[in-house]
Subunit: 118 residues, 2 copies
């Protein structure tokens, strides 16, 4: 099992991975996987990503407890993007919002939408 | 209106943009925007992307007719990913499938799921 099996990483060896809530359908976040993160996600059933700033692989929710149980995983037609359908424990965003996508385009500005911070 | 307004492109000046069907909630594709594609998307209300292979900005569906009317647009917490909620005309994928994410992880393999090719 490796990224090279149908998955085409970028020059840095990374693939974008979209996490979508399997219960609500909401897109929660986008992060990156390297080969190790992909292998760990497959092996454990929980989403692992690669941090480009910390240059290390990490388990989502390892410190916060806001883990993502992977229910289904897809790749796109050209194999350069992963889609995870997950069960999210707690909020996905580090701001404690349900989703990282909470800034909406309105009248040529980005407006923070009203939603509970958990 | 520019990408630099809250949006943080990568070193190549690009931002990943996820297109989600506003009617079904299905994630249809992921592509890239540069500043011009973002401006055109805002100006026209239809999704425009940047092709890394052709090195040019393009309107999704310009030749196929499979355009994407943008209903809502979001950015994520760190401003480096865009989420488009769109009304998709026809199939989103160049394979004429509804979504580009039609290969599912099953028993350590990627399996093409059964769905109509339109």
């Amino acid at each position: 099992m490796s990224l090279s099996d149908k998955i085409k990483p970028n020059d840095a060896g990374l693939v974008p991975a979209i996490a979508q809530d399997v219960r609500t359908g909401r897109v929660l976040m986008m992060a990156w996987m390297n080969e190790e993160a992909f292998a760990q996600t497959n092996a454990t059933g929980y989403a692992h990503y690669y941090s480009r700033s910390r240059k290390t692989q990490w388990k989502k929710g390892e410190s916060s407890g806001h883990v993502q149980k992977v229910i289904d995983m897809y790749i796109d037609c050209d194999g350069d993007t992963i889609l995870l359908l997950i069960e999210q424990e707690g909020p996905a965003c580090h701001t404690n919002r349900e989703s990282c996508f909470y800034q909406q385009r309105q009248n040529d500005e980005w407006v923070t939408i009203a939603e509970p911070i958990k």
